[in-house]
Symmetry: C2
Subunit: 415 residues, 2 copies
């Protein structure tokens, strides 16, 4: 099995790719790096020297000799730099501080943004960031930046219209936070961040493509291909919530009908639960948007405890999710999928079972290969970890991602 990757000649890309190869290898020799990357020994020596000079990589002893000079081994120097990832959730904010190796060295959870005004919340976020650095005793100059994961945010959107009408989308999160904390800030949607976090935390090789289905208020799909997040023509890949799964189904606010989100997202599950007056009273369901996360979690927890009525509600949602996942597995020939996000926190097992069952029975490629379906590590908020990774990548290798986006945005398009 070959694991050779093509690495571009641009020095920033090369540096990023070599750093990534060292990270995913654990320890590795220069000769192995040359073999894996296809670059010359001279290029590898030059790039490694610059990484060591910047303290990003360290030499860590010697591997087996093949007869000649003993091979010195390289590994990431984890404590050289830190990054912060922030997952902007309705019910809570999760801050994760990672070192260069992606190890989580600190975490803070605080109340969610709920319906509060961005202008006041962003000041609180800046305060909480300073508090984290102080508590962890990390000098600001060792922090490369802050990554922010949230619904509907898209990387590189600039002044183009946002996809949602949310107040947070119109608010200049990036610029405001940068000026408040004096650090570079990058933002991306939570599904893309969750996929990137899975890639980093799970030490998944770049040759293994996979998808992460994220559920919060709605759904998003992060797609990792060739070790990078798929972006599409305007950085808005992953709108799986608007897959049409029931063509004669209810009208969706997006302009279409029978979208996954209308049928299976927390709001739909809560509406059905509220219709059962006894259940609503028992679980203390409120049924308004501000309490959406709490309401859904109550139903999901009851389902995981085995309450038949709630199991039925979650299984109904899971049936739609499974159909959408099967569609994507067939379309993209996926062999690996993770589920992440607060929507899967309490009743994720029911969703996993429904997806495994349908995909196992009906995936077009089932005779050729299986499809792994797993919950992301529930102890970690992978989208926050991914946001931190995004900050690491963005700051250590500027322009790598952005360039491609801006090329696409200029492409001619009609309709």
């Amino acid at each position: 099995m070959s694991t050779k990757r093509r690495i571009g000649p641009s020095s920033e890309n090369t540096r990023s790719a070599i750093l990534d190869l060292i990270r995913s290898s654990g320890t590795v020799s220069r000769i192995e790096l040359a073999e894996m990357s296809g670059l010359t020994a001279t290029s590898i020596t030059r790039v490694v020297k610059s990484l060591i000079d910047d303290r990003l990589v360290a030499e860590t002893g010697f591997g087996d000799s093949t007869g000649g000079k003993r091979r010195s081994l390289l590994q990431i120097n984890p404590h050289a730099r830190y990054a912060v990832g922030l997952s902007l959730g309705d019910a809570r904010l999760t801050y994760v501080v990672t070192d260069l190796a992606g190890n989580v060295v600190g975490q803070l959870v605080s109340p969610g943004i709920g319906q509060a005004a961005p202008g006041t919340e962003i000041v609180r976020i800046a305060d909480e960031l300073e508090q984290i650095f102080r508590q962890l005793d990390i000098p600001t100059e060792d922090v490369v930046g802050v990554g922010v994961a949230g619904a509907g945010l898209d990387l590189g959107a600039g002044d183009r219209l946002s996809l949602t009408a949310d107040e947070w989308d119109a608010f200049p999160v990036q610029e405001t936070l940068e000026s408040l904390v004096g650090l570079p800030v990058v933002r991306d949607n939570d599904a893309a961040c969750a996929a990137l976090g899975q890639f980093w935390v799970g030490r998944i090789p770049a040759t293994q493509d996979f998808a992460t289905l994220y559920m919060a208020r709605g759904f998003g799909l992060g797609l990792m291909t060739g070790g990078g997040v798929s972006r599409g023509s305007s950085s808005n890949v992953g709108e799986i919530g608007h897959l049409v799964v029931d063509i004669d189904g209810p009208d969706c606010w997006c302009g279409s009908r029978g979208c996954l989100e209308m049928l299976a997202a927390p709001r739909a599950v809560i509406a059905q639960a509220i219709a059962d007056g006894g259940l609503a009273a028992e679980l203390g369901l409120v049924g308004d948007d501000e309490r959406l996360r709490q309401d859904f979690d109550a139903i999901a927890r009851a389902a995981s405890r085995g309450d038949d009525r709630c199991v039925a509600l979650i299984e109904r949602s899971a049936r739609y999710v499974a159909a959408a996942v099967l569609s994507v597995v067939n379309l993209l020939d996926l062999d690996r999928l993770y589920l992440a996000g607060p929507g899967f926190a309490d009743a994720g097992a029911i969703y996993v079972a429904a997806i495994r069952d349908l995909v196992g029975r009906a995936a077009r490629t089932r005779a050729v290969h299986g499809v792994t379906v797993e919950l992301s590590d529930p102890g970690l908020d992978t989208s926050a970890v991914g946001a931190a990774t995004l900050a690491l990548q963005h700051v250590l290798t500027p322009h790598t991602r952005i360039e491609r986006t801006s090329v696409r945005a200029d492409s001619p398009a009609t309709v």
Copy 2:
């Protein structure tokens, strides 16, 4: 707008990429190639020399000087080599002979494979290939190979199980044809070939991703990303026919329900037409699989002439197709889609209108960018052209595509 592409250091990949840059540029100088590829002038000079030595590229005069030595311009030497593409259709076989620049220099249409046994049909195909070379006066040694596009065929499947139970899939098309004609043969599914053909014929830049929806008996989606065909974990990307568009719809043979194919493919349209006895008699519909193409074409032609009953049948099919396309546009953030294949030959305009309408109303990114939806040039069989392109790529740059597939196939997978 930057058009810089990352080009890998492997010499075969580099050769392929430089050849592709020269093709897509029309005429280009070495300095421009260095700028576009990011490779050094020395590397460009070396690669270009090898391409000229092999007669693949020719010098063609001088461009503007920027003060120093005048820049000699390069272009593809179109008549240095030829390739054949064969589209294996039910109703007809289309052979296309292209030169190195992708120009079609010859074409032959013969009866389709219908329900005939592969063993006898493959001998006829070999005879027809020899006939074409004779008629075009092309020496066999200038033919780099034969590409074959067909339903369900997947590149690099080796001895793994096929996706369809079709007799053609179990038959070793590639090996048998190679031994009969003495030329390398590559095969791929028709949707992937149609996308590759569109890329080549339409001189689409590698930075412009797009999809081609192919309709024959069923549906396939070819996805071009970064100038290459997306492959997925086992070279089976594009099974759009099994997107679930009606979760409570009819059972599908694949194990799922309400798949696009069950609701919108020619067989479904014919079944509805047959239910109208008067219409069936009028159009001479037969209703068995062997006559599927002729039956569907009769309905599609009547629809394009404005027959209300047939317009309604095609519009019903188009409604499902539009919902599936919208789902894919949302999922992958596409901004360009082509329709190709015999299913769109007669009533393609009705499908285009339905897709443009729904995508224009409901695509999640409609505020950010439009989505171009167009029929492939109906005068060309783009899947045959793409199959020829596949042969050119495969033979001129061996291993480029195959390697990635074999990496994926070995990846661990469960369920």
